[in-house]
Symmetry: C3
Subunit: 251 residues, 3 copies
């Protein structure tokens, strides 16, 4: 399952290449050239967003190499979501547990219904949620991360909002969908290459301890950004109070 | 006082050794072999959880070496709480000030009554809460940490919850105790060695800047965890829908 | 404008030098010797706190060197606010956008009215808020930082409070001012040199990953602090239940 997801993400990464680049290859169909602008992830299972790794699979293949492979694939997926040059939006309605909670905590924007719950209960079956904890403890404050991981107890949507796991809460599934649409409209209105550049630098600077170093690199990113066609078009359109026309390219 | 506490924690660390190991020594009594599963810290002083260092002690022993010794002992205590292989739960009812607030911010799980308050008022007496600030600023967001440290003003339980200093709030002392009991039940239901492994890695990975590095180490921890007897028992019990029987050992 | 602000901050830094030091120079007027204790920043523009960089200026001077200069000056200003040895308090009433939001996220204490909003909408005009994101993502949790930066949508005062951008919210402009006064009273009641020492170490230790290292340096800061005249005066006054008399000097 994880390998399929990773393969799926690889295909999507290709769809993120800007039209200018893909149009060079005449063999590609129009379908392939359509630009991916955002990824919305939801569950088709009622009441459960994801319950994480398949314990049966882990038990039936009681082999260190196989186990290592599973966690390597899982890590690949989480890092791919961060490295994907488009915003990754998660729609949670129901329970997100263990690696399912790790998945949520690895998305850029998390929208959840009021009835959603989040937990890292691995220790209940003797398998501590160590890898889910990496994503969760980088999202929520320490007191909540330790509580979730050491007790295995679920937190509700409001606790998830206050502690930082969730961006916002919707009162119903319908509201969740209309909120997603509205967020997608905001993203689509922007140039793809600028979103890609911005998302990449966001996660880069977050790993930099030294504030002055982060600013030094950030200034370079801003100067490069200003030389891009879409930025010059965007500022010109803003000053002339007209609609911008994006190329979505890196030029 | 700090030396006594450190000595007390040393004794508790010994109680965390798994029964398999302690049973090797036949001279030990059953009493000694009882396994410590969690630490609950509360105050026997009404309205005050802890007001931190004893200013009189600091003033009467106006000597750099003695002062250094006091802060070294204090640091030892804070690091011991993090390194203790069992969850450390703090029950706050009243004021936690200065190093008392540092103590709270160094526990894994913090339960507080609604009437509790938290402050780092050292600068009022000319002694900035620099060491308490280390624990507090790693718990609450920067805007609140700077406010608490620079103004010395207390925050209430709700502000502490929102900013991340507290896990959850209880309306009364009775509710605080029943909540603690319920959390302890969750912890006791899990294998001790798995909680120890998980807590240790949680604080290790939190100090790692690079996400890919953290996952690389986390995957190894998961694979090792899967080879533990208690994990194999736990997953088997889960799949067969029966109660697990823990050894609590590291095997 | 940024150069003027930087020059203004340089002058203020000089006002932070303790009276003991400035009195050595007899040529200085009393005016110059007045001690700066805190910086309160507000906007004289109704409904807008700050909308960040001037896009017209950036467009009219379409030159990499000039752009680099602007972002270098901006970085200088943000780092100056952190390095200023007095608390920097921000009064927000209205919209703080892009570098205006970066400015807010670079202050020590942020007080905002209920009607305030915060956004990083640069990508709308093709210029991603990469440098504002450095300050914002170090203030709010990741799910909110990514939402603000990738969608460009504003968050309200309550969302800013919950996610960590704001210290507290006032129901009205009058309440904002009286809250500021009350916070200033708390700051003025403390010795200037101790606040300077504390603020400097707060931001230093926040950049240290290793907890034991941070405590090791923190203990030294505490021991040095205890040898300061104002600390000995403060503790003595506290124990004797009298008002302290501060020198505000580093001695």
């Amino acid at each position: 399952m994880l390998q399929e997801l990773n393969h799926h993400f690889e295909l999507m990464e290709k769809q993120c290449i800007s039209p200018t680049t893909t149009s060079e290859s005449t063999s590609k169909t129009n379908e392939e050239q359509r630009l991916l602008r955002a990824l919305v992830i939801s569950s088709n299972c009622e009441k459960i967003f994801s319950s994480g790794h398949d314990l049966k699979e882990l038990a039936e293949n009681n082999d260190r190499k196989y186990h290592q492979l599973i966690f390597d694939e899982c890590t690949k997926l989480m890092l791919r979501m961060r490295d994907l040059p488009v915003p990754v939006i998660c729609q949670v309605d129901g329970l997100a547990a263990a690696a399912g909670c790790q998945f949520v905590a690895s998305c850029d924007i998390v929208l959840a219904t009021e009835r959603s719950h989040f937990s890292t209960p691995g220790a209940n079956v003797g398998l501590f949620c160590s890898t889910p904890g990496i994503a969760v403890a980088r999202s929520v404050h320490r007191r909540m991360a330790a509580y979730m991981l050491l007790t295995g107890r679920p937190i509700n949507a409001n606790e998830a909002l206050i502690s930082g796991l969730v961006t916002c809460i919707s009162p119903s599934v319908e509201a969740l969908h209309s909120q997603t649409e509205s967020i997608l409209e905001s993203i689509i209105a922007k140039p793809a290459s600028v979103i890609a550049l911005g998302k990449q630098f966001l996660f880069k600077q977050l790993e930099m301890d030294n504030l002055a170093d982060a600013y030094s690199q950030g200034s370079k990113v801003m100067v490069d950004n200003l030389s891009m066609k879409d930025c010059q078009e965007g500022i010109d359109a803003f000053l002339k109070k007209r609609q911008p026309k994006w190329t979505h390219s890196n030029e």
